[in-house]
């Protein structure tokens, strides 16, 4: 009985949270837009257990999971490192560093063979130069995703 698209009450969210839940980044992009984006992103695959981003690493790339899953941790490895999130296909991380260019405050580790798209700040500027509308769409998508994450965090606090 799947005809009615009711929101799943088992994943109930609060009023502050957007209705679509954590809709993945780039999900609404057309094939043509994804093709255009291809010139500006790097496709990377990390083996199980690989460290994708380390705490303090100066990587300004936005990382979007194409397949696999990633464990997000805070704190330095071996010194009170604690898991703060697990992300799956379509979700993004490295957002803060991508936005402000500062060192990463989190670490990301591939929980399985994981493929990600990496979009660096410089590449984003290039994207904006070649495809301004696509850059705006991407930024809006990322902003909406970030907003949903923040709301989720607020709700959890």
């Amino acid at each position: 009985m799947k005809f009615f698209s009711y929101t799943d009450p088992n994943e109930q969210v609060t009023e502050r949270v957007a209705p679509a839940g954590l809709r993945p980044v780039l999900r609404e992009f057309s094939d043509e837009e994804l093709d255009s984006l291809d010139s500006f992103v790097a496709e990377l695959r990390f083996a199980t257990g690989s460290r994708i981003v380390a705490v303090g690493e100066r990587s300004d790339a936005l990382l979007i999971i194409v397949s696999g899953s990633v464990r997000i941790t805070a704190g330095e490895a071996g010194k009170g490192e604690r898991e703060v999130d697990r992300l799956r296909e379509g979700e993004a991380f490295g957002i803060s560093s991508f936005l402000d260019g500062e060192a990463s405050a989190i670490a990301a580790t591939a929980l399985e063979s994981t493929q990600v798209l990496a979009l660096r700040r410089a590449a984003f500027a290039q994207l904006a130069a070649w495809k301004p509308s696509l850059a705006i769409s991407l930024l809006q998508d990322l902003a909406a995703y970030t907003s949903r994450r923040l709301r989720q965090l607020e709700a959890a606090c």
Partner: protein, 883 residues
């Protein structure tokens, strides 16, 4: 009506009234309700008549016709949603236990109210008033605490079950106006999809959830019938009254169970029949009550036929409800029978995975980072490494400079074989057999690489001396060659000479403090943090191993052609049999005193780049003015932009790179540069420089305005370093004039690279310098072939744009040319003369020119794809083999 429209949820419907109008109606309804409460308290007789005789009996009809209207204006819903609308709700999710029991609570309250009517509520206005106020308070508290409509409307409201029963197939859908966004606060929300809720309810995967809803619908006709049949008051005591109510409910629910369990009837169809019967029974009794109330208040005597007709209202209403329900069921079945269409909707979830599946090419794994990345078809290993965002040096991209050497740890058989140029370069680097030049590799299978060529091990890092089978120097009586200059031309000359002769004494004089390095990558010295790391293109021991005597930091003062010797500024004299001039070129400046200013720079050497970077950091420069919009100027502007400066690029011509690009290509380039924040000014010249002490402040433009900056970089082209040749009496024009063997006017002196002037030859490029050096080395030892210009496809070294230029940029009469469509993101032009490609240029987004580059570099026959090219379709180049 299509099922999609019929069952559209509230987010896909528009309200007939604007929000303010609904708010007004809600307030009015609330006031009326509170007025009822007041009336029930003040004048219970009138209040009770109006309440039970008019207000309550009218409600079921409204719920059949337009339940959404009631849910929009319901006073309980309004007070429940006030906290949400004012942002004062705590928005807590309803606990799971409460969720599970909420419907039973609502049904319990409803049953209690019905049961209490006869003994209490039909006679006590105060109690009814208290009940009204009480539920309003409960609804408000529910909204204050719980999210969405889960605090009352969709859960505990005693009217909820009856609304879902009578309103299971609304004739008119009035969309939910309280939830700007659905927060998923409850299961099978009626407000979300009023026409779909009944289907979701009755066949819910939770058997208990569905049974509760079925039970209520089943017992409703019995409850209503038993209540009305017993009349407003009873003489046989409340116990029996309640027992009769209970028995009737059980009997009715039992009938429902029998109907669904003994006959092949769908639960929904049975529910529709029971709802219709309940409605008919209700109005059979309530119709005359309403009529009586109206006639009482309006002071008229209702005729008997009207009373009978009022009883029939319920029958008609029941039939309407039944018909609407069956119609909805038909549409629901129709929709449910289209699983393929439904499945298509979420398919985009995997669109990104499909698009970026990494299956477009072979995969390369970087040993250091353990990152794997695909190599798209047609791309080189260097392209793929750059696309993956991994650091790697690069230079000529032609296998000559050796900047991009990578160690192949595994899968070497999956790389295209190395050519002569690459092998020679690897030999120079001491990496033959172990490393490859990434720019020359195409990948056909899994490969593991290490971007650090020193990881090949110390044995491989040792440059092996060349050992020719025949010593050509001995054969031609040449024993000593002096080379002035250690750039690509000078170093290549030394390398070629040693390859041809083991006995030859080779002296190399250079004023540069550094060994041969990747001059093409000095832009990265400006914005990168790695300094000279990776820029050295020759091992320190190469000169020793190849027995090349290097006179570093030494200036060749003069050439004595009579004694055939070179006099150094240190006073030493180096005799030669043959002399090769590879003195290169220098940057020209806009003003003879330009470089006297401390913030004025040119970009020719690694020292220039480092000095510029140091100045920017020490003086905290923010603005840069680059003078000259040629290849060097654009690359310098891009490098300074990478460093974080606000850059203005001045070009005297009407377009950037006017020697390499047509107007459309230059426009694309300018648009891109401006897009990333570099200001481009064309058709401008500088009338004067404004300085303050040792520092330049501004450049005044000929047409009036002035361009202020903190650093000034001149990229106006190069001038050849011909002083030595001129002083030696060699024939000099723009450069040192040479013949096709690179021989100057003195047969024992050769000139190669930037300093040489060969009629019709393009200069200033690495591949040209290397080719000329090979020609000269052969000629020196009597093995020479006339110089043949290499096929040069210029590639701009800016990572946000693919810019290629080859040969001519405009067609002559009779030429055939193909171009991109004017509005395409990338601009390209191909010029063919008698079927031969004589000109090609491309300006487009990064990574988009790999097929273009491959085809143009290889000189591939384009005739098979002329038709596609004529249509402006460049993607067809992917189908062409470069072999």
């Amino acid at each position: 009506m299509s099922p999609e429209l019929f069952f559209a949820n509230y987010t896909k419907r528009t309200s007939a009234l604007p929000k303010p109008a609904w708010q007004v109606l809600r307030v009015l309804t609330l006031l009326v309700t509170l007025g009822f409460a007041a009336l029930l308290t003040v004048d219970p007789a009138v209040g009770l008549k109006l309440w039970w005789g008019l207000a309550i009996p009218v409600l079921p009809a409204l719920l059949v016709i337009a339940p959404g209207l009631w849910r929009q204006v319901c006073p309980m819903a309004f007070v429940n949603q006030v906290p949400r609308m004012t942002g004062s709700s705590r928005n807590q999710p309803l606990p799971a236990k409460w969720k599970n029991h909420a419907f039973l609570v609502a049904v319990g309250i409803f049953l209690a109210c019905v049961a209490a009517r006869s003994p209490l509520l039909n006679h006590s206005g105060g109690l009814v008033a208290a009940g009204i106020v009480g539920v309003l308070i409960l609804a408000f508290v529910g909204g204050l605490v719980f999210a969405g409509r889960s605090g009352w409307c969709g859960t505990f409201c005693p009217l909820g079950p009856i609304q879902r029963t009578y309103g299971q197939a609304p004739l008119v859908v009035v969309p939910n106006g309280y939830c700007p966004t659905c927060v998923g606060c409850q299961k099978n929300c009626y407000d979300f999809n009023p026409r779909g809720a009944i289907f979701a309810d009755l066949v819910d995967s939770d058997a208990r959830y569905a049974s509760q809803r079925r039970l209520f619908i089943g017992l409703l006709p019995g409850l209503i019938g038993a209540y009305f049949l017993q009349g407003p008051t009873q003489s046989y005591g409340y116990e029996l009254y309640l027992a009769i109510l209970l028995a009737a409910c059980c009997a009715s629910a039992g009938l429902y169970a029998i109907a669904t369990s003994c006959f092949p009837l769908s639960p929904h169809r049975v529910a529709a029949v029971f709802a219709a019967v309940a409605l008919a029974v209700f109005y059979w009794f309530a119709g005359p009550i309403v009529l009586g109330t109206l006639s009482g208040f309006l002071s008229f005597a209702a005729p008997e036929w009207l009373t009978t007709a009022s009883r029939g209202v319920g029958v008609v209403g029941g039939l309407v409800l039944l018909g609407a329900s069956l119609h909805a069921e038909g549409l629901f079945r129709k929709a449910s029978a289209q699983p393929a269409e439904r499945a298509a909707e979420p398919s985009r979830k995997t669109q990104m995975l499909t698009r970026f599946g990494g299956k477009q090419g072979a995969e390369v794994t970087d040993r250091e980072t353990k990152v794997a990345f695909p190599v798209p078809k047609g791309a080189t290993l260097l392209d793929a490494i750059e696309s993956a965002g991994l650091k790697i040096n690069y230079g000529c991209r032609a296998g000559l400079c050796g900047a991009d050497a990578v160690v192949v740890c595994e899968g070497g058989k999956h790389l295209s074989p190395a050519g002569d140029d690459e092998l020679a370069t690897l030999r120079r680097l001491g990496l033959e057999g172990k490393a490859r030049l990434a720019c020359m590799c195409r990948v056909s299978g899994p490969v593991v690489i290490d971007r650090d060529p020193t990881s090949a091990g110390p044995e491989q890092s040792q440059a092996a001396p060349a050992a020719p089978e025949v010593d050509h120097a001995v054969a031609c009586g040449v024993s000593r060659v002096v080379i002035i200059g250690n750039g690509i031309a000078g170093t290549s000359a030394a390398e070629q000479l040693r390859r041809l002769s083991a006995s030859l004494q080779i002296d190399m004089i250079t004023s540069e403090p550094l060994h041969f390095y990747n001059r093409m990558a000095i832009g990265r010295l400006i914005y990168g943090r790695t300094g000279m790391d990776g820029l050295q293109l020759i091992p320190d021991n190469w000169y020793t191993k190849n027995r090349v005597e290097v006179w570093r930091n030494s200036i060749a003062r003069s050439v004595d052609r009579q004694s055939k010797s070179v006099l150094l500024a240190t006073g030493e004299s180096l005799p030669y049999d043959k002399l090769i001039l590879a003195t290169g070129a220098h940057c020209t400046t806009p003003d003879p005193d330009f470089l006297a200013f401390d913030n004025a720079f040119v970009l020719r050497s690694a020292e220039d780049a480092q000095a510029l970077r140091n100045y920017v950091q020490l003086r905290r420069a923010r603005r840069a003015l680059v003078v000259g919009g040629g290849v060097l100027g654009v690359e310098a502007a891009d490098a300074l932009h990478h460093l974080g400066l606000h850059v203005t690029l001045l070009q005297r011509s009407d377009r950037l790179m006017n020697a390499q690009l047509d107007h459309q290509g230059a426009a694309r380039l300018a648009s891109y540069l401006e897009g990333i924040g570099i200001e481009v000014l064309t058709d401008v010249s500088i009338s004067r420089w404004e300085g303050q002490g040792e520092t330049l402040r501004a450049a005044w433009l000929a047409h009036g305005p002035c361009a202020r900056a903190d650093v000034f970089v001149a990229c106006l082209g190069i001038g050849t370093n011909t002083q030595l040749a001129r002083a030696a009496g060699l024939e000099v024009g723009r450069g040192v004039k040479v013949d096709s063997s690179m021989r100057t006017s003195d047969p024992d002196i050769f000139a190669v690279g930037d300093v040489a002037e060969l009629p019709g030859a393009v200069g200033g490029l690495w591949t040209v310098g290397a080719a000329q050096a090979a020609t000269a080395a052969g000629a020196v030892l009597g093995q020479g072939q006339p110089y043949q210009a290499p096929r040069i496809v210029l590639q701009l070294k800016c990572d946000g744009i693919d810019l290629r230029s080859f040969g001519e940029i405009s067609a002559r009469p009779g030429d055939e040319e193909y171009t991109a469509a004017p509005n395409d993101a990338a601009w390209w032009r191909l010029i063919l003369r008698q079927g031969v490609l004589v000109g090609a240029l491309y300006v487009g987004p990064p990574r988009s020119a790999k097929d273009f580059t491959r085809v143009v570099q290889a000189g591939t026959d384009l005739s098979p794809v002329w038709a596609e090219l004529r249509r402006g379709d460049l993607s067809v180049l992917a189908s062409l083999s470069s072999d």
